[in-house]
């Protein structure tokens, strides 16, 4: 098991390096002078000498590999540069906003897993009945409806019409309910699909038939014999869904004026605050990669077959 974990961690190093190279390249992808991109609008209209001074002070006059090395070693020490707009260190800005996004993502994951597994299980156990069709249709709606629209509809119903929940902001669990449902619903659809097909597969197995033949009560067969094994493939989807939840967070945070990194990123893009964009994208992607590592390792812990392959 330890060998497997170490192998996975070492396998991540080239991927994470690639991610950092790509994020670093964003400066050079931006049209125009990178100095202007890094310093923002204030660089426009200043003298050529001042611009050259700025270029030197940012180290942009040095060869690209040297600049990348600086960026990487800075990032490893937690230095992601300074935001053009606020002048604050990017790491500090992320540190202030990320906990809110993490709370939202985890709450969304809780909704997705609960809803997805229940729907998938019901659909599989009551296959080809009304329950199955309703679950399948719900899952289809889940993958087709944009999260920002379902967020807006929830807001109209539960905040503006019924007045049960606050329409925007953060601070209490009530603020989390609607955004978490909006992003969780979309992901629950994928989880429901996998749970359903994996459960149907398992229910065909001989040991399930044996258990039934022995006279084990039906729900006990479904839960103890089948469900536990059907959960395995679900675990892998859960990891991947974190990515879409983090993406969905960007949209729902904007809908509900929720102060997380997603909204900060959108504001940064509008303000062309490149260091803040780079830092946020790098940080969230690294978190995503690490979450997937944890999911893979727990998958291996649950399924001995993987470890020996």
């Amino acid at each position: 098991m330890l060998t497997y974990v170490l192998e996975r961690i070492f396998g991540l190093i080239p991927v994470l390096l690639g991610v950092s190279v790509l994020v670093f390249t964003l400066t050079w992808l931006a049209p125009g002078d990178p100095v202007v991109a890094l310093v923002g609008e204030s660089a426009q209209g200043i003298s050529r000498e001042a611009l050259e001074d700025l270029r030197r002070s940012y180290g942009l006059d040095r060869p690209l590999p040297v600049q990348y090395w600086d960026y990487l070693s800075g990032a490893l020490r937690g230095d992601l540069g300074r935001s053009v707009r606020s002048g604050l260190p990017v790491a500090q800005e992320i540190g202030m906003r990320f906990p809110a996004t993490l709370r939202l993502t985890l709450a969304g994951m809780a909704v997705a897993v609960t809803l997805g597994i229940s729907l998938g299980l019901l659909a599989a156990v009551y296959r080809r009945t009304v329950i199955d069709y309703v679950a399948v249709v719900l899952a289809l709606i889940g993958v087709s409806v944009p999260v920002f629209w379902s967020g807006l509809i929830l807001m109209i119903i539960f905040a503006l019409e019924l007045g049960w929940l606050p329409a925007s902001g953060s601070g209490s669990w009530q603020h989390l309910v609607m955004p978490a449902f909006a992003i969780g619903f979309a992901s629950s659809a994928f989880i429901a699909r996998i749970t359903r097909s994996s459960m149907i597969e398992i229910l065909r197995n001989d040991y399930v038939r044996t258990a039934r033949a022995k006279g084990v009560v039906s729900w006990r067969v479904n839960v103890r014999h089948a469900f536990r094994n059907a959960l395995l493939p679900v675990v892998t989807v859960v990891g991947l869904q974190f990515g879409s939840l983090l993406g969905g967070a960007v949209l729902t945070e904007t809908v509900f004026a929720y102060p997380g990194v997603g909204r900060m990123l959108v504001d940064a893009i509008r303000a062309r605050d490149l260091p803040l964009i780079q830092g946020t994208v790098l940080f969230v992607s690294v978190v995503f990669v690490l979450i997937n590592l944890v999911v893979d390792v727990s998958y291996a812990a649950l399924n001995p077959k993987i470890r020996y392959e």
């Binding site: 690639g18 289809l140 944009p146 999260v147 920002f148 629209w149």
Partner: protein, 285 residues
Amino acid sequence: MNSFRSLKHLWRHPVSRRFRRNYAALVGLIIVLILVGTAVFAPQLTSIPPAEQNLRERLQPPSLEHPFGTDEFGRSILSRVIYGTRISLLTGLAPVALSLLLGTFIGLVAGFFGGRLDGVLMRLMDVLLAFPSLLLALAVVGALGPGLTNAILAIAIVNIPQYARIVRSVVLGTREEDYVQAARSLGAAAPRIILRHVFPSTIGPLTVQATLGIGFAILAMSGLSFLGLGVQPPTADWGEMLARGRRFLPDATWLLIFPGAAISLTVLGFNLLGDGLRDALDPHE
């Protein structure tokens, strides 16, 4: 006569038979056909141009005259939803076409030549997959700047790895097949083998992925437009309409309901069609 025969052949093919028996897939096909029809015949479907302002009829709720209501400039929401089909299909097709082209090329080269080139290309794809997809699209738009073209490019880049991986795995499967080996021993050049013998096997899985990809691209694009980073006003676009309509809550809910329903229905259509094609092309699943 010949084309009639080939049509008959297509109709009787087991794949199209399986597809026709799948009601969900047929519903998807009908939705997609209606959308294409709406996009093509938009001027015939509504007499009101989508950009026509009528300030005396601002923010009117749905009525006989304006079935979907009007926005803050008195523009007809129905007309904007109808014309929005055009930009929506464009933003679905353009990124998919781009990532399909690049992804297929990368997958063919990586799978056929193997070795170090394969290693490098696939690690590059792993890096792209390491980002949450919407986040990578936002990063690209953040660097290039907001706008329709840049948003299309961003969504295309994000999806290259999916096509590259599919093509590569099919190529790896066919590379050792007898007919490919035979072509090779007869001295056929690599590009010819790839195009004539290897590429055709990728068409099925690619069609499925591309159909589902259109749905995803429309969803992602409407998200970018909703954030103000994709399609820019005054173009009639569903995501942009939602971003604008949001400001008139809680009163003008019709500004949100119709464009959002249009996005959902469009994505649903492509998802149903894609799933149906997969089931028809791969009966084992």
